[in-house]
């Protein structure tokens, strides 16, 4: 699995993210980073829970009750938190071979379109997942063992995708600015 950063070293990649963005971008980045770290912490907590559960099951035949349910719900929440940071950090997997030789302006213009689409995707998924949560809530379904309301799992993912939308739209504007700025060839 790879980050497909442009093989031709993009001198901007050497600059830390913070230095590339303006004040709003830095604020957005801070939120995205916080979301990403939170997600990783949740996964770490899930690792601990799994270990307690495995030990409990093997030794005392007593796993953590509802461990699978918790794992699924929390993992979905945590993973949703990762997307926005990945996009701001230019982690998208893309084919850049055919466009490497283009002038930087053109590359930024194309990336602006890519970011716009990412933003729209984030917004669409946030909207639909929210709708899904609403549907589950009115149906009142709960999980098998712990009796957790199922809509919570979906609802927890919405902020992550809203953040992805924000990251996409912000990057789009950022790329457009680079594409039209004078300093760029």
């Amino acid at each position: 699995m790879t980050t497909m950063h442009p093989p031709v070293p993009d001198e901007e990649l050497e600059v830390p993210l913070e230095a590339r963005f303006g004040p709003y971008g830095r604020m957005l980045l801070a939120v995205c980073k916080a979301a990403a770290v939170t997600g990783s912490l949740i996964f770490t907590a899930l690792v601990l829970m799994s270990i307690i559960s495995i030990t409990g099951r093997k030794i005392w035949s007593a796993p953590v009750p509802g461990d699978v349910e918790l794992l699924q719900m929390c993992a979905a929440f945590a993973a949703a938190n990762f997307f926005a940071y990945c996009h701001l950090n230019r982690g998208d997997v893309k084919v850049d071979f055919f466009t490497d030789q283009l002038p930087l302006r053109a590359v930024h213009s194309l990336d602006a379109i890519g970011s716009l689409l990412i933003g729209l995707f984030g917004a669409l998924i946030a909207w639909r997942t929210g709708a899904g949560a609403g549907m589950l809530q009115s149906a009142g379904e709960t999980s098998m063992i712990l009796g957790l309301p199922l809509w919570i799992g979906e609802a927890l993912m919405v902020p992550g995708f809203v953040l992805l939308a924000a990251a996409g739209f912000y990057s789009c504007v950022w790329h457009i600015r680079r594409a039209v700025s004078r300093g760029i060839q």
Partner: protein
């Protein structure tokens, strides 16, 4: 319009989008969503309804959670300095041979691959550790960087391996069996790379001078440091295959063990932050493509293209081996421009039914599926080292500031040859991929 035609149209549009740098996940999603609307009679409502559950169904999939956990494990290993002790260990045993330090780098890559499922991470972390040593020992730049770029691919060839997890999820195959099957081919790859180094220094001794011999006491000391890594590998692989932990649990154990090793080895605040952000980045990268692939595969299934294509190939009378070789060639070509995981996600839903419909040496369905997984893994992996994209090559080259890029690309050529030889051997001798699975049938 036939299924094959509509499928081809979808792929054509997708390729156009990819050509202009649209992120693969979103491009797949758009084409998939468009196809879905077209195949359900131009009505948007079914699509919007199905999207209500797309993200949650995917991201809460129990088998899929294994991926972030393996990535977390690999990130701990990467930022926790485990690569250094592994390299020291192998180097203590091989460093005094001609070419031995480069062989040690390959061996250490393989060992690192046993706790990390990613090729780039393996190349990058081993490169940081081994390149300065190779430079100090006056190794040629081409050999040093070539060996590391190729060695990095052992990261995904030796289980745990993220592409194999994806393959398993796409085809309902057992992750444990795939991991077991990958061990022998992975070891063959490592031995092949080491043999290449031996041949090169035999031909031109100046490429890789011998280093000083290390005393046995120091070798044993180096061994003690890496024993926990071996332990983690055995727990994860045997745990999954032996059936006393499912893959997700085994990955959790592995992640915890690597976390303990990393923190015990001196990882502090910065390392932990890098681990957290690295896990976020790599997971999101993969999951975004997965979400897109899900949508695309739904549309492809509606178009009937995979089934029709499989039937057509089966009925066409092409020799199965020729079909397989054609598939492998497609992978090599796609590998010129595309990321390995994206390739697996994009092609397996189409190629898998084709392969399963053909007869290869009378293999059973499960064995055929395992064997194809290993072959596909091997060919997508070489995309990481061959031009023009060869991400491993760029990463190693960026680390080795003194070596020109052309030297590095020249350096990987002999290793690529060994890759092609290995793939041919695995193609004609499926038993190599299946031997462990057959032996430890449970």
């Amino acid at each position: 319009m036939s299924g094959i035609q509509s499928g081809l149209i979808l792929f054509g549009i997708l390729m156009l989008l990819l050509l202009v740098r649209i992120p693969i996940g979103v491009a797949m999603f758009m084409v998939g969503a468009g196809g879905y609307v077209a195949f359900t009679g131009g009505d948007w409502t079914p699509l919007l309804n199905s999207l209500k559950n797309l993200a949650y169904a995917r991201l809460s999939n129990y088998d899929l959670i294994v991926i972030p956990l393996f990535l977390l494990m690999g990130q701990f290993a990467t930022h926790g300095g485990l690569s250094r002790s592994l390299f020291k260990f192998v180097s203590a045993f091989m460093g005094h041979w001609r070419g031995g330090i480069a062989m040690a780098a390959v061996g250490a890559c393989a060992a690192f691959g046993a706790i990390c499922g990613s090729s780039l991470a393996t190349a990058a972390t081993m490169g940081q550790v081994a390149l300065p040593e190779l430079d100090r020992a006056k190794y040629s730049g081409a050999l040093a960087t070539g060996a590391l770029a190729a060695g990095g691919t052992l990261g995904i060839m030796i289980p745990p391996s993220v592409p194999l997890v994806i393959y398993a999820i796409l085809t309902q195959e057992s992750i444990g069996k795939l991991f077991m099957a990958a061990i022998v081919p992975g070891v063959i790859a490592m031995v092949g790379y080491m043999a290449v180094i031996q041949l090169l220094v035999f031909w031109k001794p100046a490429l890789g001078p011998a280093g000083p011999r290390v005393a046995w006491a120091d070798r044993l000391k180096a061994l003690v440091v890496v024993l926990p890594v071996l332990f983690v590998f055995v727990v994860v692989i045997v745990g999954i295959y032996g059936g006393w932990a499912n893959p997700t649990e085994a990955a959790a154990i592995g992640a915890a063990a690597c976390g303990v090793l990393a923190v015990g080895g001196g990882m502090r605040w910065k390392g932990l932050m890098d681990t957290a952000l690295g896990t976020a980045q790599t997971t999101a990268m993969i999951f975004l493509v997965l979400l897109g692939a899900d949508q695309l595969n739904t549309a492809l299934a509606l178009s009937q293209m995979p089934t029709e294509l499989a039937l057509w190939v089966k009925g066409s009378g092409f020799p199965p081996l020729l079909v397989m070789i054609a598939i492998l060639v497609v992978y090599i070509l796609l590998g010129c421009v595309m990321d390995s995981l994206a390739m697996i996600l994009l092609t397996i839903p189409v190629f898998y039914p084709v392969v399963m419909g053909l007869d290869f040496w009378g293999l059973g369905q499960t064995e055929k599926s395992i064997w194809f997984a290993i072959l596909a893994l091997m060919v997508v992996e070489i995309g990481l080292v061959h031009p023009p994209v060869g991400m491993n090559v760029y990463i190693i080259n960026r680390l080795a500031k003194k070596v020109p890029l052309t030297e590095t690309f020249k350096g990987v050529v002999p290793f690529l040859l060994s890759d092609f030889i290995r793939i041919t051997v695995l193609l004609f001798f499926p038993a190599l991929s299946l031997v462990l699975v057959r032996t430890f049938q449970n």
